[in-house]
Amino acid sequence: MQALTKRSKLVSNKKLSFIEKLYLPAILGGLKITLQHFFKKKVTLKYPEVKREFAPVYRGMHVLKRDEAGRENCTACGLCAVACPAEAITMEAAERMDGEEGLYREEKYAAKYEINMLRCIYCGLCEEACPKDAIYLTDRIVDSEYTREGFIYGKDILVEKVDDRIDITKRKKKKGE
């Protein structure tokens, strides 16, 4: 009969030879293998002290960027919310008042900007949709929370602090390609 796949193997009921029946050579072979592993380099990382580096394309928690002068980039255009396949992003726009030029880069800004981290699938489409260089995914990890409400991140968490900028050069380079 023709074999159905190329990988099929013929079953052999070959009788074991005397040496094979002794089992001892096989056991010694096994012991040799485990002993080799005994002296091999260990793959375990001692986690809290040593951390495994993220892949350069890793997509974690979002950040809302500021420009060099410390003004928020986001203009609440809503393109990220439209691009989001999980519908995780909601925002409310507001007009910039006089005297707020140091806070927001353009005349319109996001008064409220929320991402539901439980809905988010970390696809990075918001980042691609953004025309203002405002939203990026970083290699930070979203912390665990006790309630579902805790996972709805507002501007207080998402916008980077003026004196504590988040490095997104890795993501930027990828975008430029």
């Binding site: 001892l24 056991i27 096994g30 293998i33 592993h37 005994f38 380099k41 260990k42 001692k46």
Partner: protein
Amino acid sequence: MIAYSILDRDWSFLTDKLILVGILFAVALGIAAYSTLAERKIAAFMQDRIGPDRAGFFGILQPIADGVKSILKEEIIPGRAHKFLFILAPCIFMTVALMTYAIIPWGKDLIINGRKFSLQLADLNVGILYSFAIVSLGVYGIMIGGWASNNKFSLLGAVRASTQMISYELAMGLSLIPIVMMSSSLSLRDITEAQSYWHGMHWNIMLQPLSFIIFFTCALAECNRTPFDLAETESELIGGYHTEYSSMKLALFLFGEYVNIFVSAAVISILFLGGYNFPYMNEMGLSPNWVSILSMGALFAKIFFIIFVFMWIRWTIPRFRYDQLMKLGWQIFIPLCIVNILITGLLITLKIYH
């Protein structure tokens, strides 16, 4: 008159023995405790992991942490269990495991202030018989524990343990007869001394390799170690005889197992690896006390090596099936042992072995 003779006797041997008992007790439990760590470390290393290393440097304090955890855990006795036997079983298991230490010669005699200080609790002239009797008692702990738990899995584990014990005790005893024939004594000290020729390298393993393999395998089976750990298979019997045990009683069972391993390793070292003999022990020109201390070190090195091999085998070989285990014991080992006895007898008659 009788009272006078009792008072008149030299009672110093009693303090000697009591000190030795104390030291041995501490050493035995200490080694058993660190065997648990060694087991986990060896398992980890053979699987390319690091193993426990959080409690102290290299996990040195891990056994203490485990012990404290075991003591503090909730103690559960199943409602339908036979309460007295349930509590008795781990006690029997542990006590019996510790009893074999009495006859093991740990080294040559020490001489302190002109007084001989024997490093053996009791030099029984039927040492091997004693050790066999005690080791076989160990299965009582398992059997009673499994039965008293009133749990099908526990009972199955207990039954397996006892059948395994019966099948392997026989081959174990038979495999030792050539050794006894060659050293013409049942005393462990005499057997050790008989291996001190050839500059301390006249080890029985070289003269009786087949006996060694059979005895070693049987020792694995006696200790309920992989590949013969059918009494406590996690996957089939959820731990076997100690399924229902918790807290310190479980710890006693697991701990007793490591004590057993230590005893088995000691017996194997004495019977086959020359005991406390080490190469050129009498030709080095050291003082007798130094030789005694070194001989003790040699015995412990051998014991640790055997324990390592036990663990090495555990993390290498998968478990035997039950019928394979029975077949190995009854159909392969016992005939081999008998053939071995005949050959040894022939060689002794022809004065090749003596």
